[in-house]
Symmetry: C2
DNA sequence: CTGTTAGCGCATTCAG
DNA sequence: CTGAATGCGCTAACAG
């Protein structure tokens, strides 16, 4: 006895029977994988609407074909934190549009830093054709291990290197070096850095770049810090606020700009951080860029600021699309290539020669 | 012959066989739905890891149980557009956390305004236990019809009324009326409104509130406009920018503040719109609130502005959680109740008596 | 172009 | 506490 509200749901076989054709013919009508006489097709379709049949049961079809049309997108540290950053949103946007062409959807799987194991349990219970790691550091290894055991292809956008996962990224070191070089050429010698917290532990009081580098496990962060070191050496004062957003930038600025002598420029690892630094600086009466130059990373729109942020522009949507195509290749069994995308240094109005 | 890279994947039955137990026993080990001797369980688990078995195949298990642990989240007009608004993100955040407790994930299904039918095709191909509509207006009816035919429970957060869908929302009319009343009590008599485009068609040049009301099909928008009309009558100048963000607010302000006499206050349908209005006003040398009062809607953080926006604060995360619980009830076959959540008018520094 | 035949991997009765 | 049997709804060969 069925437990649905209506009587028994219509199935492909009941439709076929009603239309007086065999099940396989009816199946072909829906999959379009074989030739079916127009008259037959219409008869089947007519019976289908009559019986309220809405097409092949996805679960049954996945079981049979081994594909479910779903790609897991695994984020780190909660959804809200991840999507607060417009850059992450543009990544997902590109991903979605690429996957959409193959009728593949994305399943959001936020990984909480408090229950890292939970994500594995969740993942184990859901059918996915592939997975994409978004902003996941090495702490996501359990998830990757699980995926590998299941033979599910994994693509990471930035961060999280592993032999099993494919990567789409930019040359973070070169990109950041370009930004640093720009400042150096303007004449800046006293700079400070706003980075990401290594392993989730914020570093409020300034330490040296080398010090933070030693503690940072995240691949992308490391590369970028190296890019700065290439230009300004290992002793640059560096902080890493607890949050990856405007508030974080403000608190970072507060710590970096309280001592003497003040830096003439601040290099940040993200546009939101940069905007926070700018907001705090302006609040304190410092003019940007005249009294303080600031650089960002990502190239998100900042409509609430009058100026144009000097920043490394990453092709967010494009990166997502490339990742999506890579995912589709892997799902189809084709061999995928890791991809390194170009970035571009946009020189805006947040940098100028020091006073 | 299997087409996976390795030899044949391990299945429950192969694990059972290796452990010398029956399939059903092995199944119980994983589902925990029946008593299994500790020794037996361990033997099974040991063989499982030995064979690289990662747990019951989700597709097979969904076919059998009729549940797949996935809820579709349907957004309107592209993902990026939807998630650019922090309020939408907080909604999803709450939703995720509520669903997570039932080990249920969310599948993102952005509905494009250019191919509204596409979403139905996509949905038809994926297994879902329920669906949540986010910011979807009446144009989403095809999707709802499909869901109804499939007997899939649907919950909408704001917008999109239909006999089949359950709703979680706030009393938009009363909330907006409270904001309008606040301005009226301050002494404002010349106000203007920034709303949402009716049916996606922007209204750049000001029309009357009544006019826009007549064209608006979106439930939430209508209610809010009615709340304004309750206080200021039907003749308030109203625009509806093409984009629901800061840029949209700027362009709206440009049109509303170009004529004479200037309004002394602007009521917007969203915080981002409000921030855009403020940005444009300040850019033009108007001081907020002294020269122009501005109100928002939602209560998102606006860290880049020094002031505090006067706005209707909606419980975003909470709303998402409530929707999530409703979804779970419906999936479980329990009868769910529509919910109306309270809002709160936050009086900030963006409003004051007119000059 | 259409029908027949076999499972996909598992959860669940129901005996023992 | 354990095992044997049954089908969830569908797709993919293959034979007509």
């Amino acid at each position: 006895m069925p437990r649905t509200r209506q009587a028994t749901r219509a199935t492909l076989s009941s439709v076929a029977q009603a239309a007086g054709v065999s099940i396989s013919t009816a199946s072909l009508v829906y999959s379009g994988k074989g030739p079916v006489a127009t008259a037959t097709r219409e008869r089947v379709l007519a019976q289908a609407t009559l019986l309220g049949y809405t097409g092949p049961d996805p679960a049954a079809s996945s079981l049979r074909t081994g594909r479910c049309g779903v790609v897991a997108v695994i984020t780190w540290d909660g959804l809200a934190a991840a999507f607060r950053d417009p850059y992450a949103v543009s990544l997902v946007d590109g991903l979605v549009s690429a996957l959409d062409e193959a009728s593949t959807g994305i399943l959001l799987l936020p990984q909480s830093r408090h229950q890292p194991g939970h994500a594995v349990a969740r993942l184990a219970a859901t059918a996915v054709d592939a997975a994409v790691l978004l902003g996941c550091g090495p702490e996501s290894s359990p998830v990757v291990d699980h995926l590998q055991a299941r033979q599910v292809p994994v693509v990471t956008i930035g961060t999280m290197a592993s032999s099993w996962v494919h990567r789409v990224d930019v040359d973070n070191r070169a990109a950041m070096r370009a930004a640093a070089t720009h400042l150096h050429q303007l004449g800046h010698r006293r700079v400070a850095v706003v980075s990401l917290p290594p392993g989730g532990a914020p570093v409020a009081e300034p330490v040296t770049l080398a010090d933070l580098l030693a503690r940072s496990t995240d691949l992308e962060t490391r590369e970028r810090l190296l890019g700065i070191r290439d230009v300004f050496g290992p002793d640059v004062p560096t902080v890493a606020p607890h949050k990856w957003d405007i508030e974080g930038g403000k608190s970072a600025a507060e710590h970096l700009l309280s001592g003497q002598p003040l830096p003439t420029a601040i290099i940040t690892q993200g546009d939101l951080l940069a905007m926070g630094v700018i907001a705090w600086a302006e609040h304190r009466g410092l003019r940007v860029p005249h009294d303080l130059s600031v650089t960002g990373f990502d190239g998100i729109p900042t409509p609430w600021w009058e100026g144009v942020l000097t920043t490394v522009v990453q092709p967010g949507v494009h990166k997502g699309e490339v990742a999506g195509r890579l995912v589709l290749d892997l799902i189809a069994g084709r061999t995928g290539q890791d991809v390194v995308l170009p970035t571009q240094l946009r020189i805006g109005t947040s940098t100028c020669p020091p006073r």
